[in-house]
Structure formats: structure tokens, C-alpha cells
Amino acid sequence: MSALLDVDQLLDKLEAGLRNLLEERSIKSPVLIGIRTGGVWVADIIGKRLGIEEPFGELDISFYRDDFSRIGLNPKVTPSSLPFDTEDRDIILVDDVIMSGRTIRAAMNELFDYGRPASIILATLIDLGARELPIQPDVAGQSLTLDAPQRIKLRGPDPLRIEIQTTEQ
């Protein structure tokens, strides 16, 4: 069983939230960085909507995961690519879903190995709560609480679709 979320509505809300925040903080030329895989798809769309012409960056956080000592290295790691210097830049870090917050912790550690950004804004399409670290998105398309047998599945990149799947227990 699965239900679809209205992706356009979530993207509208994310875009509006980001526009407000950028204006509030007087940020003129932010750069986007998406976390692989879903975050990259969202960053691509949001970048076009915000009219950011600079190409967005892509982070693969495999080398920074905190469960390496439990499960080993992800064999499908791909090179991160940041086509700009992050030093003193205002960064919008984008992921599809935030839950425990561990991915964002890893992503920020990785980012700082490229230089010292001026600021980082965290934007996620969906906030599932269930945080294990003190990390919160600045902007989210929607907050959701899932029941135990429910899982969220993002498909993309074009068209971007979000399904809530319910597994039989």
C-alpha cells in the first residue's frame, strides 16, 4: 500500500521559506549543495526556482558516516563534487528527508574540509522528526510523523515523486 504526497506543494513551500530566509538574512548570492541522492534532485529543482545560476554541488557523505565501524564502507561511494570555493560563501544545504540528523552531521563535517563557509542554511523537503542529534532544518516543505510500519520513498529525478509506503506487519 502506498500514498503519494503532492511534491509541487512541498517544493512551493520550500521555495517560499527559502526566499523569506534569504531576504531576512540579506543573503544575495547563495550556493546550493545537495546530499546524494535525493538531496541532489531537490537542489536541482530549487536552484532553478530560486534562479541560482551557479551550478550546485553534490556531497557523498560515505566517508563521514558514523556507522562505518558497524557496517563498513559503502561500496557504492561516488566522488563529491563542489564546483566552487566554499570559503566565505553562504550555503544552502539540501536533503530530501531529515530524521535522526546524522546525515546532516556528516555532511557538515565534510563541508568544513573544503573550507570555512560564511553560513549554512539547512533545507529539507520533509521533516520526519525522530531526531537523535540537536540539528534542525531552517526550512522544510512539510513535517510528518510516520507510524511504525510506514516508510517514505523518494523517486526521481524527473518526475520527483514521494510515496509513503505501508508494509504489512
Binding site: 566517508f63 558497524r70 561511494v77 561516488t78 563529491s80 574540509d113
Partner: protein, 340 residues
């Protein structure tokens, strides 16, 4: 390619197929070799950052155990471990404990007692890393940095990475390995890797005295005439003449060897115009390769060195990850049994 008598994989791989030691390429399939190359690609990117370090091996201790001299291999292993944030201990065994009479096993057990997580081992005896992994310190990840005439798997994999970077593929490639095949652990590992990754032709070019018996059984063809062997080549790998390992009169003279098997501009011109020139180093200019070829536009010898760091980071992090994942799995199983 004939199957090897005893597959070393029960030793090298965890139950779910992750690397936990890296002893030989024998028995490692195309998928795992490709994973190693892909992971190394990601580490190349790390080497271009302002901070060239990732935290994967933070808090782990890596011991470089070199029972045989080495500059390039040892320093790239050291750099690789440091870029993975490990603590590194370099031991030149010739000048330490063993010269006071301590046995190899005792030296290793002492190092294990210092909470070492990984040994990078180079040894003149074929099979030494295998022996250590199997019988001495099974809980420590063992990386083979060259054992006797047997294998030098990280060198072969960095060569594969270099070939893939320049040619984009292995299918359809014609590759030759030239020179002292007899004493070369590198050649054995290269032939193994090239076969597994699907190269079209692997030729060894050497005088009969510098070829091992039954070399064809490794999965290659033999050519004694270099001019013939160079035809249509996409990759030519020159080997160092290992004078220190030679016993008896295997060669008439260095000059004669160079005339017949040295890579000169004229001989290189017989290959495909985009043929790349490789050499595991250290190079003997004027013995196996002409200076202007080693420094020329088709040479990728220095790329090989850079790639060596990335390949070693890949292998070390994969093996360490496999070791730790396995430890965690055993712990979980013990807990489950305790609860049941």
C-alpha cells in the same frame, strides 16, 4: 584463466563478501575489483580538497611492517593511512627486534598487544602476509604490500586505476608487460587483474631466461620479439630489472637487454599512437626505458604514484570496515544468544 587450487577468499572476505584482508587478487571477482577502483576515484577527489583527510580510520592504529626496503610503496601507504586519520607506526624490521633474535610471530604478537588494527606487510617470502592473517594475528587486518615473487595487489590495482583513467575501459584493450617477469610479483598481480577486468589481450614480452615456467597458465601470451609484441598496443607496462634478485647469468649484459627489450622512442612508435607507458618504479633509465620515453607525453608513470595513494586509501578503508563490521556482527550474535 585456470582456477587456483585453494581459494584464499575464506580468509580475505567476510561472510557477506566485504574485504577484511587484502592478500592477493586471486579469487576476487570483477565486481569487487571495480568497487575498489570506484572507491579510489572518490579518494582522488579527497586528495584535491583543502583538507585532504577523512575520518574513516580515526582512532585506529596502522603498522607498516616492511621486512624489505621500499620508498614509494611505504610512503604512499603511510600517506594513505594518515589521510584516513589513522595513527601510523613505521617499522623497518631489518633494523629492529628481529635482529635481536625475536621471532616474527613474537614481534607481531607484541604489536597486536599495542592495539594495532592493521598491518601493512612487505616480505621477501611469498605467502608471509597470508600466514600472518591465517595463523598469527587473525583479528588484525592484513594488507599485502608485496610478498616475494607472489603478489603485489595494491600496485596492480593502482595500475588498473591508471589504465581506466586514461582508456576509460578494459574491454578491447591490448596490454603488454615487458621485462623481468620472472622476479616480478607486480606482473603476476597485473595479469590477474587484467584478466578479471576483461582486457582483450595480455602479452608478456621478455627473454626466455626472465620468464617463469608455464607463464601462459597465468592467462597471457608470450612474445620474445619486442617489435612484434608492441604492435597495436594500448598500454605498455615496463618492469624494473631486479638485479638484486638475480642469481646466475640470466642476462648477457644490461646493454644487450636494453637493445632487445628496452623501451625506446623507436619501439614505442610501433604501438598504437595513443599507447600509454607505465612503470611501477623505481625506473632504471637507459636499462629498461629511454629517458625521453619516461618523461614523454605518453608516460603516465607519475600518475601511477598519485593513484597509489587513492588505491591504498580504498583498500585500507574497505578492509578495516569489513573487519569492524564482522566484529560488530559477532558481538550482536553473542548478545542475541545471551538474551535467548
Amino acid at each position: 584463466m585456470t582456477a587456483n587450487a585453494a581459494s584464499p577468499n575464506h580468509l580475505q572476505l567476510t561472510r557477506d563478501g566485504q574485504l577484511r584482508h587484502f592478500l592477493t587478487l586471486d579469487g576476487l571477482g570483477r565486481e569487487l575489483l571495480t568497487d575498489i577502483l570506484d572507491t579510489a576515484d572518490s579518494f582522488i577527489e579527497v586528495g584535491e580538497r583543502s583538507i585532504k583527510k577523512v575520518p574513516l580510520l580515526r582512532g585506529r592504529t596502522v603498522v607498516n611492517l616492511f621486512f624489505e626496503a621500499s620508498t614509494r610503496t611505504r610512503s604512499t601507504f603511510e600517506l594513505a593511512a594518515k589521510r584516513l586519520s589513522a595513527d601510523v607506526l613505521n617499522l623497518d624490521i631489518n633494523t629492529s627486534a628481529t635482529s635481536k633474535g625475536e621471532s616474527l610471530s613474537d614481534t607481531l604478537l607484541n604489536l597486536e598487544a599495542m592495539a594495532s588494527d592493521m598491518f601493512v606487510v612487505r616480505h621477501a617470502q611469498s605467502g608471509a602476509p597470508h600466514f600472518i592473517a591465517e595463523s598469527v594475528t587473525p583479528g588484525v587486518a592484513i594488507i599485502n604490500a608485496g610478498d616475494g615473487r607472489h603478489a603485489h595487489p595494491t600496485q596492480a590495482m593502482l595500475d588498473m586505476l591508471t589504465i581506466r583513467q586514461h582508456k576509460g575501459r578494459f574491454e578491447g584493450l591490448k596490454v603488454a608487460i615487458v621485462g623481468d617477469i620472472l622476479h616480478s610479483r607486480v606482473a603476476r598481480s597485473q595479469i590477474r587483474a587484467l584478466n578479471e577486468l576483461g582486457a582483450e589481450q595480455i602479452r608478456v614480452i621478455a627473454p626466455g631466461t626472465l620468464l617463469p615456467k608455464d607463464v601462459e597458465s597465468l592467462g597471457c601470451t608470450v612474445e620474445y620479439d619486442m617489435a612484434k609484441g608492441m604492435k597495436d598496443l594500448d598500454v605498455v607496462i615496463m618492469l624494473r630489472l631486479q638485479k638484486e634478485r638475480m642469481e646466475g647469468a640470466l642476462l648477457p649484459s644490461e646493454r644487450e637487454f636494453y637493445r632487445l627489450y628496452g623501451l625506446s622512442q623507436e619501439k614505442l612508435a610501433l604501438a598504437h599512437p595513443e599507447c600509454i607507458v607505465m612503470h611501477p618504479g623505481p625506473i632504471n633509465r637507459g636499462v629498461e626505458i629511454e629517458s625521453s620515453v619516461a618523461d614523454g607525453p605518453q608516460s603516465v608513470i607519475l600518475n601511477q604514484v598519485t593513484n597509489g595513494i587513492a588505491i591504498r586509501m580504498a583498500v585500507m578503508s574497505m578492509a578495516m570496515g569489513g573487519q569492524m563490521a564482522e566484529r560488530q556482527q559477532k558481538l550482536n550474535e553473542m548478545n542475541e544468544r545471551g538474551l535467548a
